[in-house]
Symmetry: C2
Subunit: 116 residues, 2 copies
DNA sequence: CTCATATATTGATGATTATCAATATCAGGG
DNA sequence: CCCTGATATTGATAATCATCAATATATGAG
């Protein structure tokens, strides 16, 4: 029920994949796939993009329901997936929930491709 | 029925997304999501990894059915998806089909994250 | 041509997912 | 306390997807 530390150290025994990575193990692959799963939806990519493009670096749900042609519950659902993937950070201020990019998360995800 | 040139120039009117990208359009997001969809499966990540790790930089289907616990038709199916996403290249030599990484494809995909 | 082997395609099935409508929670104002 | 507005959760449904069994295609050997 809580966010998985997907982008945290792999914690499956081996630390940091010993440079000359031979091939991807089943468990490791499953972890990495989770992040790409979160990115595998056009609307979620647009959500990330809008959050990133914003002046303040953050956006509330109400800023996001407009551009995308989706209902509010669906937006909330997508945002939750992005948070659980470790890509977005959620901060509740008053009635509003503000979402912002987790610093370095996109770069780290790009790095996953280099270490395949 | 043929491979989509997903990683080719965007060809949706605007060329090269004018540096200060404001936000991701619906069409653009759909295209980018296709590549991440291809990466959003653990077994496909492992296939990419094995192909990449191979000495010769290529692998035939018979090299891939072993490590993954999947039937041959399923492997073929996953490979097709990776080819259509522009990540793998397929070359038929005799009875065998050799798959290799499309040069620069992974780097280009990593770049997609930077230009969200 | 016939056979054996490697790969691809088809069709079916169970699992996952995206979406919405309805409802719940939660904070602030009166 | 009650109301309003913002966001989250639940339950249902349609679509997509991963997998397999069966079959098809294609290539080289004899």
């Amino acid at each position: 029920m809580n966010a998985l530390p997907i982008l945290e150290p792999t914690m499956d025994g081996t630390c940091c994949s010993p440079s000359g990575t031979p091939a991807l193990g089943a468990e490791e692959a499953k972890q990495k796939a989770l992040v790409f799963k979160a990115l595998a939806d056009p609307n979620r990519l647009r959500l990330l993009s809008i959050v990133k493009a914003g002046e303040s670096g953050e956006a509330c749900v109400c800023d996001l329901t407009g551009p995308l042609d989706l209902g509010q519950p669906t937006i909330s659902h997508h945002l939750k997936i992005l948070v659980e993937a470790g890509l977005l950070h959620r901060e509740k201020r008053g009635t509003w929930a503000y979402y912002s990019l987790v610093p370095g998360a996109l770069e780290e995800t790009a790095g996953l491709l280099a270490t395949l």
